[in-house]
Symmetry: C2
Subunit: 109 residues, 2 copies
DNA sequence: TCAATATAAAACCAAAAGGTATCACAATTG
DNA sequence: CAATTGTGATACCTTTTGGTTTTATATTGA
C-alpha cells in the first residue's frame, strides 16, 4: 500500500520510532548513533529507520561508510491534515492548542 | 502497556479505524451501523471499536441490546501534544496549518 | 411465547511486526 | 596491507494484528 498518510501513521505507531524522531530533532545521526540510545541491535534500529523513511518522516544520505539520518518534519503534514478534519470538534482549536503546547514546555530546547 | 499516547497512536495506525472515527464524527452509531460501512464481519468491526475505545478516541454506552459508539475528540489531545513538539520545525506552524486545512475542504461537512 | 436481532466472547488462522543472529562488503585507520 | 568499523541483506523466531467462524446471551417485536 502506497498511501502516504497511512505510511506516516504506521511509522508513528511505534514508541521507539517516535523517540527516534525526537532524537533526530536535536541533530542528524548515523544508524550507530541512533542505536546508542536504544536497547536493541543496530539491525533492529535500521529497520525502524527504514519504516520512518518510508513514512516520509526522515531522509537519509550515505556519507562514506556511514548513513546520516535527518528529520523531515514535512512528513508529518499528512498526519496533521488528517487530524485537521476533527478541528471542528474542539472549542480551542489547533491554533489555540499550539499556544497551549508552547506554554507547557517554555524551555524545552 | 498503559501509555495513553501510545494507545491512541496505535488506534490511529489502522485505516479502517481512522475511517470509523470519521463516520462517528457525523453521528453516533451502533456496532451494526458501523459494520455497514465496511467489508468485514461485525466481530472484526467490534474489535476495532474496542481498540478505538482503549485509545480514548471513542466512548460507548449500551442501550437495550445495542451499543452506541460516540466520538471522543479529546482523545486526540495526547497525539496533538506529541506532534506539538515538532512545531518549531515549521515556518507555518500548527496555527497557520489549521487555516490551510480549512481552506482545502471548504464544504467538507 | 417465539423468532429475529445485536452484541459478546472465544477459538482459530495467516500475515505483519519487532526482534535476533549471521554473513558480506565497503570505507577507514593503524 | 590488515584490522576495524558501519552498513546492508538474509534467514529465522516469537508475538501481535486483523480477520474469520462459531456459540452464547440478552432484547425486541409480532
Amino acid at each position: 500500500m502506497t498511501d502516504i498518510a497511512q505510511m506516516a501513521f504506521r511509522a508513528l505507531s511505534d514508541p521507539s520510532r517516535r523517540e527516534m524522531l525526537r532524537m533526530l530533532g536535536d541533530r542528524d545521526l548515523t544508524v550507530a548513533q541512533v542505536s546508542d540510545g536504544f536497547d536493541m541491535t543496530r539491525a533492529a534500529v535500521k529497520k525502524h529507520l527504514i519504516i520512518l523513511e518510508e513514512g516520509g518522516l526522515i531522509r537519509s544520505r550515505t556519507q562514506g561508510r556511514e548513513r546520516i539520518n535527518t528529520l523531515h518534519p514535512d512528513g508529518l503534514r499528512p498526519v496533521l491534515d488528517w487530524l485537521g478534519w476533527f478541528d471542528r470538534f474542539w472549542d480551542d482549536r489547533l491554533s489555540d492548542l499550539k499556544a497551549t503546547i508552547e506554554q507547557k514546555d517554555p524551555s524545552d530546547d
